[in-house]
Symmetry: C2
Subunit: 315 residues, 2 copies
Amino acid sequence: MQSLKDVISGAMSAPKYLTGDKAGIDAFIDKFDVFLFDCDGVLWSGEHLFPRVPETIAMLRQRNKQLIFVTNNSTKSRADYKKKFDAMGIEAYENEVFGSSYSAAIYIARIMKLPAPRNKVFVLGESGVEQELHSEHVRFCGGTDPTLRRDMQPADFQNIASQGSLLDPDVGIVLTGLDYHPSYLKYSLAQAYLRQGARFLATNTDSSLPSAGTLFPGAGATSAPLVKASGQEPLALGKPSQAMMDAIEGKFQFDRTKACMIGDRLNTDIQFGVEGGLGGTLCVLTGVSRKEEFLAQGAAVVPSAYVDALGDLLG
Amino acid sequence: MQSLKDVISGAMSAPKYLTGDKAGIDAFIDKFDVFLFDCDGVLWSGEHLFPRVPETIAMLRQRNKQLIFVTNNSTKSRADYKKKFDAMGIEAYENEVFGSSYSAAIYIARIMKLPAPRNKVFVLGESGVEQELHSEHVRFCGGTDPTLRRDMQPADFQNIASQGSLLDPDVGIVLTGLDYHPSYLKYSLAQAYLRQGARFLATNTDSSLPSAGTLFPGAGATSAPLVKASGQEPLALGKPSQAMMDAIEGKFQFDRTKACMIGDRLNTDIQFGVEGGLGGTLCVLTGVSRKEEFLAQGAAVVPSAYVDALGDLLG
């Protein structure tokens, strides 16, 4: 088995630029049986589908490749993602999607397995997290509960300080995803739960969310206030956490050396593939990372190959 | 002039415990002409006044001490603070109060002096920040604007990405205080301003806010999502920033060696006094820091003296 050092050294050779190189593209695709895709920044940016993505996915299916869509976006469940693929005109199936919310739900339900009754999850996030927790029969509160989106009142400070009715005694885990509805009340509750010893998990801690061709605050911005207030760092269960890679391998059963991770971020997608010992990584330049970052001398994370856009794989 | 090293070494001798030591208290008080007070955690915790605080303040006034109330709480203006002192029954005057919002307003108006028109401030904070900016004739937007507390819509992503109507072209500074009304829209706007080159300031970056006898998220939790999303750290203008000490000295004109900082936090109040070369620092144990932290071998910040509670100075 390769050591992590070997794996990283191996990947550190100069990445191959494949755009326009038809023979290079064919040889690259032939090396792999499985392609793991990041979604935001690779297939689309928010609601904007990148050119020739449906055709590229169709081409890979025609060549009998197994496709797995690995996303850190916690706001959507696998079922939500299936709808998005349909709306975008991309052939994809719910059981091909592996999201950070699903990864977190599996970790909580099958690995942590906290004893009842103190095994409820306080969620700072959207319905994608809730749906995946529900699918794994994990109890939760917070999340999209509209009563927690209100202003903090003086009585709330007293209530929380005296461990009053606002705090659910069954909460043993605080789980943060990307929350489009932050509130001071929710953060106050989360801080109180952590002070009482709740475990701190995050679907992922991406600093930013690519959308509409630019960057917006990511799930890491949702956990950041709590990190600052509590002095604790969450265990992140999305890319580049290898807990997610292990869960994916356990579900899909594939040979890592015949798998390739395709993504737009060096410090999540590409690092995820490199540290996971995959046979290859492909960086697309339609998202967060710029080629200057991995072409620079001494770059920390370097993909095996790169293209300007995913559609370039059509040649 | 003492070097910083001398100052810190000097302060590193074992702190004197003054509670119950009447002669020690008298000698300590006699050493100083000026007392700088932190407020939250020293005089009160949220709406809870600590015992014998009004009497202690009165005693110091009777002994002709100059009193300055130095607070990192950005949600209140000096005028708001005066009202709080009155409600608590503590004799204090508006011109004795020096808050982090006022410190930030002075820094922006008198030191940065950005050229018009790109000198408007986008505020993530409450009315205390707005009032102090207004008092220094600094233009601002954001803050308590209720239209920014709404949910983020898909069109908002497009608008911000295309530098549309949601973004004010005059903004050249993003200033964060403690914001009880965070919203994803506000953070998205702030991130866009920083990407366009706006300067990043914070009234302070306290991790927590003492209230009702426990800890809630502080102003550092307001700036944290933006730090994560932008990769930038703000210039903080509250304690322990020496920009604040310089501004206080400029306003009140005193001999630092005859001044003592009283506070409950080692890494803000006490550090502020030590690094500022004040003659002494007094830690009270009614707030954030525990005596074990500064009595430990190799403690990073050590006060000259400590009491269990401010009222202990009455002997």
